[in-house]
């Protein structure tokens, strides 16, 4: 799912993309150092950790909810629906990626551009 983050521009993108861009910046930071890079990469690291934590929390709550569903067919249906919605959403150009060089709006399959 997309989240808002800030690395110089506001961007709506999955945490995975945030983590990817942060990794790139961290590599540059490791090679070059410098206050500006520390600041920008630091923003990315903090936000990646924050959103990852939030998603882990949400996933844990969702897992508990699924566990409470007694009927196995219903449980499978709930998991299947969640997976289906996540897959469908990954195909939708639903978030802006201004930091991308190639697209104004993108989807999960273009995470790394």
């Amino acid at each position: 799912m997309p989240v808002p983050f800030y690395l110089g521009e506001i961007e709506w993108a999955p945490v995975l993309r945030l983590g990817f861009l942060t990794s790139l910046l961290s590599l540059v930071l490791a090679a070059e150092g410098g206050r500006t890079l520390i600041w920008i990469a630091g923003l990315g690291i903090i936000q990646t950790a924050l959103y990852t934590g939030l998603f882990l929390l949400a996933a844990g709550l969702a897992a508990r909810g699924v566990e409470r569903i007694a009927e196995p067919p219903l449980r499978v249906a709930a998991v299947g629906t969640a997976v289906f919605l996540l897959v469908v959403s990954s195909f939708l150009p639903i978030y802006q990626t201004p930091l991308s060089s190639t697209r104004l709006r993108s989807d999960v399959w273009h995470l790394f551009e």
Binding site: G34, P98, S101, T102, R103
Partner: protein, 629 residues
Amino acid sequence: MKRGALLSAVALALLAPAAAAPFERSEERAPCAASDPLRRPWFGDLHVHTRYSLDASTQGTRTRPSEAYAFARGEPLGLQPFSARGEPGRTVRLARPLDFAAVTDHAELFGEVNLCNTPGATGFDSIVCLVYRGWPRLAFFFMNARGAPRFSFCGEGGRDCLTAAGGPWREMQEAAEAAYDRSAACRFTTFVGYEWTKSVQTANNLHRNVIFRNAAVPALPASAVDALTPEDLWDALDRDCRDGARGCEAVVIPHNSNLSGGFMFAPEQLRSGAPFDAAYAERRADYERLVEVMQHKGDSECRLGAGTSDELCTSELLPYDSFMGRFNPLARHVPAALNFTRTALAAGLVHQAKLGANPFRFGLIGSTDTHLGAAGLVEERGHPGHGGAGIPIGDTLPDALLDPIEYNPGGLAGVWAEENSRDAIFEALKRRETFATSGPRIVFRLFAGWHLDARMCGADFARRGDAEGVAMGGELGAPPVRGDAPVVAAWALQDPGTAESPGVPLQRLQIIKLWVENGEPREAVVDAAGEKNGATVDPQTCEPSGAGAAQLCAVWRDPDFDASAPALYYARVVQNPTCRWSAYACNAAGVRCEDSSTIRAGFEGCCDANYPKTIQERAWTSPVWYTPK
């Protein structure tokens, strides 16, 4: 007779030659066959970026300096998106060539960009260059924000990047030389230049363009990596140009004060934090003779509510006062008065009264700041975006507005010079005999004197202005008789346009007076010719309605003149309303704001109530100053 031909005939009649106005020749060239001692208006663009600017290259701009000059001379230019075979997705062409232009790429990262784009070069395989080539938009931010020290791939003391910077710098000089018409035809003039790109705090803009008089230029441009303040820039120009290169001379042109957070015209020296003194003021006025009042990132003349109640200070205003404000809502502040040229001009008078010297003695120009290399491309209809830090264009042209809604196509610089040669135009820049336009080729001229005759609007405007007054950019001098008041004569001629894009009539000509009263700046805006004529334009069809004037001329005597108070006078003229670039784009995309289903993603700006669908294009003269003795 057609309207355009009539306007040209009127212009020529008003520009008839008279007494010679000599200027110093600093280079070898054929004398221009057409030279006019009363001077002619030349239109140009002194702010053009090509592939050697990081922000342009990271947007896919491939234009070389030579191509930018060719475009300015009327040749077509291919723009991104480019196919795998290098074929441009779009082609643009000026309907009317420019008279002069300067490529002014950002001086800061010439070498870095060059190395990152040169296989086998030092640093080509560095992580910075890998990110630059693979994720240029990301690289745009951290490379721009880096400053000193340079990246490690630049080697000890940045040696390799400085060496690599010589390549683009030489190419810029060679392109300028190749495009400069040294024949007697004098069709086109180029200037070697660059942009010094310093920002402070939340990316508050202190950027300045440096324009050189001729081919004598420093070995390398002074970048903000090494010259950290404007004072450092002037030091570098003293060292490497005035004292270091024979025949070298430069003017420095601040721009986008609207994005400076007030720092551009702050009353302290930026290097030391000390208040201005006379020496500082004189030095600044000596280098910074002009200010770019209009370009694609907005109008920097004035803002309604920010120290003025001028109702026309509402055009092409940005909603933020720093670059970061564009990207981050937390840094978004409404620009205050100190961001605007009119405030600075008035503050300059206050400094004059206190110090005996005026640091803000600016003539006015406009330019585009194109990051596509498309010098002078100012048409609202079909505006292709400006490139640079705008919206990325990938493999295909996005189905969206091609520029942020708050941007515009930019303006032009007008210069009154005897001929179209480097020396003549540079001298005009130095004496501030310039005018700015928001795009249209409105011809605009101003003289001031003590006894100018109202009849000069009918004939011999320039001859009488020169003989009996001073041209814009000049100093009025003392009143010859006690009780005399300044008389300002301003004359504007509408842009004749082209067959495909006819010119738009003029609506109003105004005189703006700034003066000091009890140590405080004051302003008055006077309608001197024309009127609110009720002309309109249909934003759906862009069809104009209502009449206007082919030319406006006014001779205005200051009724409230105080000979003991410093003052200045400049003029502004506005056209009848026309469609803004976004209205053309939104109409073409079928957007109807009353039907939300037509507002596709990427066109949301079409219906943003903060941005009008219509504009009043305009022009400004440089001021004439009055300094009490």
